[in-house]
Amino acid sequence: MNLRSIAFSNLRRRKARAAFLVVGVLIGVATVVTLISLTSAMRVEAQDRMEDYGANILITPRTDELALSYGGVSLGGVAVTGRGLTEGDVRRIGTIPNKKNLAVVAPVLLGTVQVKGRPVLLMGARVKDEFRLKRWWKVDGRAPQSPGELVAGHDAARALDLQMGDTVRLQGRDFVLTGILEETGSQDDDLLLVDLAAAQRLLGKPGSVSLVEVAALCSGCPIDDIIAQLSTTLPVAKVTAMREVVQSRIHALDQLRTMSLVIAGVVLAIEALVVFVTMMGSVSERTREIGIFRALGFRRGHVTRLILIEALAASVLAGALGYLAGMATTYAVLPLVADDSAHIVWLLPVGLGALLISGAVGGLASLYPAVRASRLDPTEALRAL
């Protein structure tokens, strides 16, 4: 028998009041957990979708010349001054402090080759990364899986009269056509895509790349920092952010998170009120009992602790149940607010946070009732004396 066992006996034998307290806190915690886990799941989904949008950072060789193209109309060839980019530069991209924010790094080598007597744009790329970056690419056939395979853009295949399985001779080397890109309405329709190393050999540019496309995960990622880090790491390169896309994504996620935090705050305030009202009611109901405790030699601190133990025990239990209820609700609700690619993220900090916050809210909200109980005059509380 100690204060803890008295508190637990009270909770156990006054089930209705304890249940009211637990359910009150549970609903609050479950709501907060649902909001946070839904937001997290939607954020992950949004991050995945960001990659669907393609690169949001473009790295090209630094040049002093002005662009001679506008709106997709080119008025001259690519003029590059100074040193171009190399695969060594690509490797250095992976050394920046914010490397964990880089989802895809896709080096590309561009050049022209002759096919059936006609000049054609050749793109050499790490095929897997390029397809990951350009998720809108749809291939009739399959992507190249070896250095001897290629994929043709929709218009290129039509102009060159290429069929699936054809052997295409490029600069004296044979490549098998494994797929044709569906029409994209972009420059991709005109190109032939081969493995980066193969393109380097064909174009006589071993180790060179023309540009690097980077997709950064940007749910709160420091895009300006990443740009600065890339510029420092690659002084020969021009690093350009597709800022509007990035910032609109960040803004949308930030709004969602802010809204969730506001709602969570309101719910926690209501939860605190429930605990406060319940504990005040409990203290009033137990005035006589508190008088007995005091008459038997309990210090004020003992009475305060007794009330707080009860509130904390009920609140932490409610926190644990609320976390489970919140995750269950997320399972039920997520398919209604996100598409099939969204999946629930079990976050340990959210679980621990649910316990800590429910305990803190329960403790703080019952502090005044507990202190009030401890200050009851024993004789008035007992009324018998």
């Binding site: 100690n2 006996s9 007995i292 005091r294 008459a295 030699g297 309990f298 018998a384 004396l385």
Partner: protein, 234 residues
């Protein structure tokens, strides 16, 4: 001061919306250790107020109280609560058992805040429950006990800390005469073992158990039996 309980010039004035109500008006008394003291008097005579002050529950407006040489209301802060726990065993008129605790748990209550092993607390509570004849009712809630049994649990609770002083407020007030006699016999047995008991009662029949009986009137000791007699029912 030489008595176990020394009361000097005790005054207690209650302040209400209607004005001040004097409950004790300079009461003096001295009680030796091991005395079974009865306190009688009409309603409003100051009996319960005296008991509350003796128990360290209600500060007197003026005057002093010493128990076992301790200036009770000179104790600072929570020392008064500690004093209640170590020196006083209360037996209330309405039993005042905690409804959600079993008889055994109610008896263990005064030990709850003491740093003792749980087994020691339980052994002590078992012992006093056996002493009051309720070993077989230890696991019962107060609502499952008769009035006499609840009174016995209340007495066991008062005894469990082995206090030198028991304060009992009308412990037989709501019991039938046979059960009341059992409870009084139990208290007398404790007194025979050397415990000092101060008991407030309306029932003149209880006088036969007391070593001394003070009669209060209007907040003062009117007389001590048998020097005076109680002519009118209290």
């Amino acid at each position: 001061m030489s008595g176990f309980i020394e009361i000097r010039g005790l005054q207690k004035v209650y302040r209400t919306d209607a004005g001040t109500v004097p409950a004790l008006r300079g009461l003096d008394a001295e009680v030796e250790e091991g005395t079974f003291l009865g306190v009688m008097g009409q309603s409003g005579s100051g009996k319960s107020t005296l008991l509350a002050i003796l128990g360290g529950l209600s500060h007197p407006t003026s005057g002093s109280l010493a128990i076992d040489g301790i200036d009770v209301y000179g104790l600072l802060g929570e020392r008064l609560a500690d004093f209640r726990r170590e020196y006083i065993g209360f037996v209330f008129q309405a039993y005042n058992l905690v409804p959600y605790l079993t008889a055994l748990e109610n008896v263990m209550l005064p030990l709850a805040v003491k740093r003792l092993p749980g087994s020691v607390k339980r052994a002590r509570a078992d012992e006093v429950l056996r002493r009051v004849g309720l070993s077989g009712r230890a696991a019962h809630l107060p609502s499952q006990l008769s009035g006499g049994e609840q009174e016995r649990v209340a007495i066991a609770r008062a005894l469990v800390n082995e206090p030198p002083l028991i304060l009992a407020d009308e412990p037989t007030g709501s019991l039938d005469s046979a059960t009341a006699d059992e409870v009084m016999a139990l208290l007398q047995g404790l007194n025979d073992d050397g415990m000092t008991i101060v008991m407030v009662t309306h029932n003149p029949e209880n006088r036969r158990f007391f070593d001394r009986t003070l009669v209060l009137r209007d907040g003062l000791v009117e007389c001590e039996l048998p020097a005076c007699d109680i002519a009118t029912p209290l």
